[in-house]
Amino acid sequence: MRKRGLSFLAFLGTVAVVLAPAAARAADTVDIAVIVPLSGPNATVGEMIVNATKLAVEDINGAGGIKSLGGAKLNPIIADATNDPQGAVTTAERVLSQNKVAGAYGLALSPLTTAALPAFVKHHVPVVTSAISDKLVTPDNGGYLFQIAPKGTAFGNQQVEFLKFLNDKYKMGITKAAILYVNNPYGTATEKGIEQLAQKAGMEIVLDSAYPENITDASPLVSKIQRSGAQVLFPVSYITDASLILTGLRSADSHLLVIGGGAGFIWPPIGESLGDKVNGLISVASWNLDSKNVKDESKLSGVTQRYQKAYGTFMPEQAGEAYAGISVLAAAIEAAASDDPAKVRDALAKLHVTGGGGAMMQPGEVEFDENGANTHVVPVMIQWQNGVPHTVFPESVATAEIVKP
C-alpha cells in the first residue's frame, strides 16, 4: 500500500519537475506601475485612468501578451499618488523599490509628475504621462519621461486656431478675446498657448486673468467678462468652476462664444449636470472618443463601447490617453524584448507606433522626440452633441459636423 503511494508521489514529483519550467514560463508576467491620484479632489481623474488601464491590459493579454517575452502577461501595479508631492514621491519610491517594473504610467498631474520624476530617473524606469506641462519635456528631464498628451501650449494654440476657423466659416468677426484660467499648472500652461497665438492672430485680449482654485461662486468672473466687452471666452477650468462659469454666463443671459480649455469642459460631470443644455459647448481636448483614428478602426471604437458598457459613461479624455499610453508602453516592452526598464526606455525613445492600442491617440501614430514629447499628436476640438463630445476639428481627425454655436 505505502509502496504504491510512494511511487505515485514520485510520479507526481517527476511530472511536476518536468512541467514546472514550462509552467513557470507560462506564468511569466511583466509588471508595470500605474501611479495616479486615487484619493482627494483628483481621484476622479485617477479612476478614469485605472478603468482604461484595465481594458488595455485585458486587450493586450487577450491578444497574447508580450510575445517577445514568451507571451508574458502584463500586470499593472496600481498605486495612489495622493494629492501632494511628498505623497507622490513616497509612493513612487515604494512601488519602484519593491517591484521590478518594466515601465510606468502616471502621474496625471504636472506637479506630482515633476516631483516624482527623479525617483523614476534614479530607478531607470520610463514613465509615460498624460500631464501636459511644457516644463516636463525639457532636455534636463533625465530622459525617462514620455509625454503622450499634447503640450499645454499646443492646447491653447488649438483653441485659437479653432476660433480663426469659426471666424472664417461663419463670418463672425470676432476680435476681442477674454482668457480666464484656473490658477494651477494646467491652467497656466494652457493660458500661455492661448495668449501666444491670440496675439499672433491679431486678436485683442481684453481680459487675461487667473482665478483661484475651488471657487464656489463665479459671478465676479462673469461680471469681469461682461465688462471687458469680449466676444469670445477661453476658459480653462476644472469641474466645479467650469459648471459655475457656464451657468453664471447663462444667468447673465450672455451669448458669448465659449471655447473651453479641456478638463472640466469635456469630462462626464458637465454633461450630466447640464443635461441638454451642454449641447453646443465647444472645447479643446487631449483626446476624444470619436476622432477619425478611433472611429475608423473597429477594434478601437469597440474599446470605447466597452468602456461605456463597463463604466456607465462615454470614454473620457483621460481614459483614452491612458489606453493609448499603456498600449505604447506594452509596445515598447515588446520591441525591447526585455523587462529591463532601461531597455524599455530606449525602445520608447525609438518607438514609432502606427497601429494597435497606441493608435488610439490621434492622429493614429505615436513617436517621441529627444525630450520625450509626442511629435505627432494634435489636440482636438470637440463639440458636445446629444450629450457626448464629438470631434469637429481639425479636419484630419474630425468626424462630426459643427453645429453653429
Binding site: 486673468s209 482665478y211 475651488n214 471657487i215 465676479p220 468672473l221 461680471s223 447673465a252 449636470s273
Partner: protein
C-alpha cells in the same frame, strides 16, 4: 454703477450661502466652545444625502422649478440624527478633553470622513440636473442667480427662526445660559449635557439644510466641504464667535468683500482679500464686528 450694484448683489447672495453654512458651526461654538473642523464634512454628508434623495425624483406640477427642494426637510432630519450620533459617540466623552485634543479629534474626523465618502460613493462629481441650475431673475441690468438667491432667503429665515428659538424657547434660554457659563447653568438646575445634545443636533441639522440648498447648483464630491469650511470659520469669527444671529452678517460681509475685490482687482487675490479682512477684524476688534461687548450667543 451697475457693476457695483451687481457686485454687491453677488456678494450678498454668496454671503448668504456662507452664513447658512456657518450657522450650525457657530451654535456649536457658542454653546460648547468647540471649534468643529469637521464641519465641512457634515456639509458634504448632507449634500450626499440630499443628492441621493433628489435623484429619486422631484416634486411635480405646482412646485414647478422648485421641485428639487423637497429634499431639504428629510435631509435636515437625517443630519440632525447624524448630529445626535456625533455627540453621543464622540463629543460626550471628548467634552472632558482639552482644547487641543478636541480640535485634533475633529481634524481626524474630517480626514476620515472624506475618505469614507469616497469609499461609499466614489470620487465622482454629482449634480442632479434641475431647472434651478443656471436660472436667474433679471431686472434692470442686474441678474440674481436663483440657486444662491434661494439659499440667501433661507439663511435669513433660518436666522430669524434661530433668534426666536434662542430668545423665546426654554431650550434657547438654557442654551444661552450654558453658553455664558456652563457651571452656573448647572447650578441653576439646567442639564448642560441635554443642551449640548440638542444643540449639536440642531447645528448639524442646520448644516443639512445648507447642504440641501447647495445641491441644485453645486457639485457634490468627497472634498466639497473643504471649499466652504474655511470661509465659514472666517465668517463666524468676524461676526463674533457664538453670535448665531451675527453670523449672517459675518457671512454677508465676507461675501461682499470677496465679490468686490474680485470684480475690481485681480481675481486670484480675492481669497487673500478675505483673509486680510479677517485678520484686520481679528486684530482690531477681536470680539467680532456684530457683538455688543461680551455677548456669547
Amino acid at each position: 454703477m451697475i457693476i457695483f450694484l451687481q457686485s454687491i448683489l453677488n456678494g450678498l447672495l454668496i454671503g448668504g450661502v456662507y452664513a447658512l453654512v456657518a450657522m450650525g458651526l457657530n451654535l456649536m461654538f457658542g454653546v460648547m466652545k468647540l471649534v468643529n473642523f469637521a464641519h465641512g464634512e457634515f456639509l458634504m454628508a448632507g449634500m450626499y444625502v440630499a443628492v441621493g434623495l433628489a435623484s429619486l425624483g422631484t416634486l411635480p406640477g405646482a412646485f414647478g422649478m422648485f421641485g428639487i427642494y423637497w429634499v431639504a426637510i428629510p435631509t435636515m432630519f437625517v443630519m440632525a440624527a447624524v448630529g445626535l450620533a456625533f455627540y453621543l459617540l464622540l463629543l460626550d466623552r471628548a467634552a472632558r478633553f482639552g482644547e487641543s485634543p478636541q480640535i485634533l479629534l475633529t481634524i481626524g474626523l474630517s480626514i476620515g470622513a472624506q475618505g469614507l465618502a469616497q469609499v461609499l460613493r466614489g470620487s465622482g462629481f454629482k449634480l442632479v440636473p434641475n431647472p434651478i441650475n443656471g436660472a436667474a431673475i433679471r431686472f434692470g441690468g442686474l441678474n440674481l442667480q436663483l440657486g444662491p438667491a434661494i439659499a440667501f432667503i433661507v439663511a435669513l429665515a433660518a436666522t430669524i427662526v434661530m433668534a426666536w428659538v434662542l430668545r423665546a424657547t426654554r431650550f434657547g434660554k438654557s442654551a444661552r445660559a450654558v453658553a455664558e457659563s456652563a457651571e452656573t447653568a448647572e447650578m441653576l438646575g439646567i442639564d448642560a449635557r441635554r443642551v449640548y445634545i440638542v444643540s449639536t443636533s440642531i447645528a448639524i441639522g442646520l448644516v443639512g439644510l445648507a447642504a440641501a440648498l447647495l445641491i441644485p447648483y453645486q457639485y457634490t464630491f468627497p472634498n466639497v466641504g473643504q471649499n466652504f469650511v474655511v470661509v465659514a470659520f472666517l465668517a463666524i469669527v468676524i461676526a463674533g464667535l457664538g453670535n448665531v444671529v451675527g453670523a449672517v452678517f459675518g457671512g454677508l460681509l465676507m461675501g461682499v468683500m470677496q465679490s468686490l475685490t474680485a470684480s475690481y482687482f485681480d481675481l486670484d487675490l480675492s481669497t487673500a482679500a478675505i483673509y486680510l479682512l479677517f485678520l484686520a477684524v481679528l486684530l482690531l476688534r477681536p470680539q467680532g464686528l456684530f457683538t455688543r461687548g461680551r455677548r456669547t450667543l
